[in-house]
Each structure stands twice: as C-alpha cells, then as structure tokens.
Symmetry: C2
Subunit: 77 residues, 2 copies
C-alpha cells in the first residue's frame, strides 16, 4: 500500500519561501500570480495492513510540526 502526506504551513503562518517564489514567478513574466504557498510532499511505500492510526501518529509526531504546520494524509490500499 501507499500513503501520501502533504505538509503545509498553517494559513496564519507567514511563508517567506512562498513570497520569494511568487516574486520570482512575477519576474519571469507571469503577472497574474496572487499567492504561493510551499510545503512538503511525501510518498510512503508500506507493507499492506499498516494501521491508518499509526500513520496519523507518524504524521503528527515526526513529519509535521503541529505548531506551524497542517498535514493531509491519503492512504491508497
């Protein structure tokens, strides 16, 4: 089975990397860009039968910083 995890900065948290990329995109000529937010994308390959609860624990304790980041977990059996 396969799980994908997306970790993004919370809406209320400044994302300076995203701001820098937004300005770079504008500089490249794409004027219509309003906001860019940058996070992490993780693909996890697992033996079948892993518990989704355990995966949530891994996301919370290891893959994200819950103070400033949210995560989205998707499990593909």
């Amino acid at each position: 089975m396969r799980a994908t995890v997306i970790v993004m900065p919370k809406e209320s948290v400044l994302d300076p990397q995203g701001v820098a990329v937004r300005e770079a995109i504008k500089h490249q000529g794409l004027q219509g860009v309003k906001e860019v937010r940058i996070g992490k994308f993780m693909e996890i390959e697992l033996e079948s039968g892993a518990d989704e609860k355990d995966l949530h624990a891994v996301c919370r304790d290891l893959l994200s910083n819950p103070v400033i980041e949210d995560y989205r977990l998707q499990v593909h059996p």
Copy 2:
C-alpha cells in the same frame, strides 16, 4: 484559479532525506515501511485566464531542477 505543483526527486536519484525519514519511522515502531521519497508541494493562486503553457515554463525553469527532479502540474479552473 489554482494550480498545484508537486516536485519529486527522479526515480534514479538517491533521496537521502527520504532514507533518513524511513529509518525514523521504523524507529517509531511502524516496521512495515519500505520506501519514503520526499519532495515539494506548491499551491499557486492565480488570476483566471493564466496560460497552462506559461505555468509549465515556470515549473520547468523555476520550480524544479530537471536534471534531478520531475514535476507534476495540476490546474484547477
């Protein structure tokens, strides 16, 4: 409109960050993990009417390093 871009290391490229996270997950008790690959996830908010071709150019020239990374672009009108 909104675009999301996923940038991942190519299959043939070593991902030491992914290996480190795999070992950390095993250490946390989830033994069934076989492989972890880590990339970037970008959400781009745009004024409507942006050309998908221009977005591909931004992905290729700015958001990814085509020597070692692949990107996936999804446009949500």
